[in-house]
Subunit: 227 residues, 2 copies
């Protein structure tokens, strides 16, 4: 589904260059539940941003379903991001002036879904993440874990075929986190949605079919797990 070939990512900082990712080679198959783990600062967010087409590599090739992303037009790439890829950001990136219904609904407005279908879909997702009592709250009127759940719901709203999640349970207690992971596992097994997520939590890693260990910008280990 997704292939990274000799991918590197550098950041410029004044005169210094930070080599955040170095020569990454990784193939992700459709239907995987892939976990990326490693110490703070090792490159997980950088890698997920490249996979989600939110950022471009400094060198190397990224292919999504055989298409080389570097050769896509900006429009094709935007359609890809909107339709096929759902992204959960490490710091949520919710829209401050919209309440949680409007925040989750937003991608459906962008792809022109009809109003009644939007309401049905958004209500369903708000229910799944346990936020039905908080529909009118804006992001600054929510707890940290509630904002995280809005970001999770928003990523699912367009029925994407791939979800990329950056530490999706960092602000959730064990019980709430588990119920979210059960939803994701179900989508993965029943609808073959591919999940690629970073996490620091060993309980979350248990759900993965494969674990990629990252350290200082390089893949140090692959680990296959029972599904």
């Amino acid at each position: 589904l997704l292939q990274m070939e000799n991918v590197s990512k550098d950041y410029q900082l004044g005169k210094a260059v930070i080599h955040a990712l170095k020569n990454i080679n990784l193939k992700v198959e459709k239907g995987e539940f892939l976990s990326i783990v490693g110490p703070s600062g090792c490159g997980k967010t950088t890698m997920l941003n490249l996979m989600g087409c939110i950022d471009k590599p400094t060198s190397g090739v990224l292919k999504f379903q055989e298409a080389d992303l570097a050769n896509m037009s900006d429009n094709a790439e935007a359609d890809l991001r909107l339709g096929k890829i759902g992204f959960i950001f490490q710091s949520f990136n919710l829209i401050p002036v919209l309440d949680i219904f409007e925040n989750i609904e937003f991608p459906l407005i962008l792809n022109k879904t009809a109003k009644r279908k939007r309401k049905e879909r958004v209500d369903h997702l708000i229910d799944i993440v346990g936020l039905s009592e908080f529909v009118k709250h804006k992001p600054d009127e929510l707890s940290g874990g509630q904002r995280q759940r809005v970001a999770i719901a928003r990523s699912l709203v367009n029925n994407p075929s791939v979800i990329i999640a950056d530490e999706p349970t960092a602000n959730l207690d064990s019980e709430t986190g588990k119920s979210i992971l059960e939803v994701m596992k179900k989508l993965n097994e029943e609808e073959k949605v591919t999940f690629i997520f970073s996490t620091h939590n060993p309980e979350v890693m248990q759900y993965a079919t494969r674990v990629v260990h990252l350290r200082d910008g390089v893949i140090s280990d692959f680990e296959k797990r029972g599904a």
Copy 2:
């Protein structure tokens, strides 16, 4: 050291009232390593904000070292926050235009510490949290866990007698999180700094001398632990 007497906190949302905390009674002794745990949305951040004088209760009394905070002048309260209480926010609240040295140094500038003493103190803390190679980075040029560590270092810079930490290891891997907790434990045991922190992580709870269980805005349980 800190006492909450029948404290309640309501939020107004349009016509609805959210009772985030209801009749909280809690005494915190000097030198405690107190953990507050509970499901997402149960009121941990709300409680920590009241304890840290970042917010005021709707009803009830909060006392800090015998002084009723409601009767303090704004100046006295600001001095308290600056000098005695270190706060680590759930979403860090770093200053975007300052690099990490300047971010950590900021409270020392506010209380007019001499420049050479500032440099000594900030360099020491940057070293403790493992960010010496990132001194010139601004917050948006850091990983999530690196930003969390800047927030942690900043809270320690004024040698406060109380540290209030809202999920201080949520974005840290197990190893980095442990090293930070060891630093806090050492400060607690050697310098009698009081720590009050919320967490979802059972490994972090292990460090606590007492655990307060919160659920739906009320204290459901107290649990004493071996130090």
